[in-house]
């Protein structure tokens, strides 16, 4: 009987994973259509003067819908963008994300750059070279770093 006790946490974990996977699938179904959003600490008139898109977003002009609204509490402007055509679900796009070919990565990076340019006047560039010792672990972190600007929770 004692030996069988280990099955309780394992089974519980299995159920939890299955439920989580179900929830993840449901949320992934919507992920391709989700708005990617930043809040820019500038007024609407500066974020989209005369209807113009901020510079980094202009190359996406034909592919994206853009939404601009004042942020509550004097926090600036909510700038949101999403592709007109649905993009692949997050779960099936992992290889593309690792290779840096998921279109959402470029859009996230463009939104972040637009925010930085509007607020701070420049996009901070990392030091170069980032490090001086090529190691396997370092290369992995370097790869993740290169993808990092296009990943995250926008």
């Amino acid at each position: 009987m004692k030996k069988a006790l280990w099955t309780i946490p394992v089974a519980a974990a299995g159920v939890a994973v299955a439920r989580k996977a179900g929830a993840t699938r449901r949320s992934e179904d919507r992920a391709g259509d989700r708005w990617l959003t930043v809040t820019v600490n500038r007024p609407v008139a500066e974020v989209r003067p005369d209807g113009e898109l901020p510079g980094p977003l202009q190359r996406f002009a034909q592919e994206i819908d853009v939404r601009v609204a004042p942020a509550p509490g004097d926090r600036g402007t909510e700038l949101a963008a999403r592709f007109k055509e649905p993009t692949p679900a997050v779960s099936t796009s992992v290889p593309a994300r690792l290779a840096g070919r998921d279109p959402r990565q470029d859009l996230r990076r463009a939104l972040r750059e637009a925010k930085a340019l509007l607020e701070a006047g420049e996009v901070l560039r990392p030091d170069a070279p980032p490090t001086t010792r090529p190691t396997p672990g370092g290369k992995l972190i370097g790869l993740l770093g290169r993808r990092s600007g296009g990943e995250g929770v926008l």
Binding site: A116, E122, R133, G149
Partner: protein, 391 residues
């Protein structure tokens, strides 16, 4: 140029690395006059902070001289002696505009990594892993300082290099803990940790009007230094029951404000230390929250606990029940230095804050690994080892 590089867990060496260059128009290049070891560096040296790469230059607390300015820099010129805030802030995002500089939206060049760790990324910090911005550190002959108009501050003539150095990080970190914890006249404040940050938090609490300030540590020379240079009472936790001692000194109430200035590699002399260490080594928790637990238990009902120590991830046996049932306010933050540094330099010039006693050791950059060894093991009474490239 020469620089101190992280080469792997518990491996440091001085290496030749390329000189920094202006990468943005708002950058300056600073020639290092002095930098210092910091307790938070020990976490990344020991492998507790993720996303370090072999060859990364470490160091984030420094004073130096401006030798080159970007085309958009307005407040600095070549030759200025400046102390530089360890966190980099753009100065114009909502967080910087609201004096929450360590949360800047625009200075972490790896936002996805920070978001994976914390939900949202922090600001960038010099020499503190690729998850915290990936910026090169300051234990070098030169360092690039982004957004220098906001993060570099001229040092008044009457303040010497060694004293100014600690305004880069330790002094504002300590001040922020006391300030954001709401320390005011009549308060009894307990501070866990008598390192540089703990001492500065205690000094800030005194200057903000606290009635009594009690600091807790186990290192005799640090306890003595805190009494002598800061003017606070002390408790050696190896010789007494800290909670009982604090109850006795506060009429049974407990401290109004408890400030934790220890961080993720806390020590204690009880069985919980062995438990925490085992779980941390097995990676079942990333941090040892010993001092945080003590602070939460010792704090008076409806008091405030401020967590100043650096924590990276998740902890076990966090006394959430005490937080809820005692009605505590628990806050934490990385350092919003730009908010405090000008005021702190004025107080330093006026003699209200003294830091030179913290610099117990001074070594040239070539011996920087030894500086960290002295600092880590608290050998020879080391509180802070100052590293000078020019010596």
């Amino acid at each position: 140029m020469k620089a101190l590089c992280w080469e792997g867990v518990n491996k440091l060496s001085v290496e030749q690395v390329p000189d920094p260059e202006l990468r943005n128009d708002q950058d300056v290049i600073v020639r290092l006059i002095a930098g210092t070891t910091c307790g938070s560096d020990l976490h990344l040296i020991g492998g507790y902070i993720p996303a370090m790469r072999a060859g990364d230059v470490i160091g984030h607390e420094f004073v130096g001289e401006v030798v080159e300015t970007g085309s958009a820099v307005r407040r600095h010129k070549v030759g200025d002696r400046v102390v530089v805030c360890s966190f980099v802030g753009c100065g114009r995002c909502w967080y910087c505009a609201n004096d929450l500089w360590s949360l800047c939206d625009n200075t972490n060049t790896n936002p996805g990594a920070g978001q994976a760790l914390f939900g949202y990324e922090t600001a960038g910090i010099f020499g503190y892993s690729h998850a915290m911005g990936g910026l090169r550190g300051s234990h070098a002959e030169y360092v690039r300082v982004p957004f220098a108009d906001y993060g570099a501050f001229p040092v008044p003539e009457g303040i010497d290099d060694t004293s100014a150095l600690f305004v880069s990080d330790s002094v504002p970190t300590g001040w922020m803990g006391a300030d954001l914890a709401g320390v005011g006249p009549g308060d009894v404040v307990a501070v866990w940790g008598c390192g540089a940050v703990g001492q500065m938090a205690a000094r800030a609490a005194i200057l903000l009007g606290a009635e009594r300030v009690v600091c807790i540590d186990r290192i005799p020379e640090r306890l003595a230094m805190t009494e002598r240079h800061i003017g606070a009472e002390t408790i050696d936790y190896t010789t007494t029951d800290v909670a009982a001692e604090l109850r006795e000194r506060t009429g049974g109430r407990g401290p109004d404000v408890c400030i934790e200035a220890v961080g993720m590699e806390a020590h204690s002399d009880g069985p919980m230390h062995l438990y925490d260490q085992a779980k941390q080594q097995l990676r079942l928790q990333t941090d040892r929250p010993t001092a945080v637990r003590q602070a939460i238990h010792a704090c008076r009902k409806a008091g405030t606990v401020f967590i100043l120590g650096v924590f990276a991830g998740v902890v076990d046996k966090f006394p959430l029940g005490a937080v809820i049932n005692k009605g505590l306010t628990v806050r934490g933050a990385q350092m919003h230095g730009q908010r405090y540094i000008p005021m702190l330099l004025e107080r330093m010039a006026a003699g209200e804050i003294r830091t030179s006693h913290l610099a117990t050791h001074a070594l040239p950059l070539d011996q920087a690994p030894r500086a960290y060894d002295l600092f880590k093991h608290k050998t020879d009474g080391c509180v802070r080892a100052v590293i000078r490239p020019g010596r």
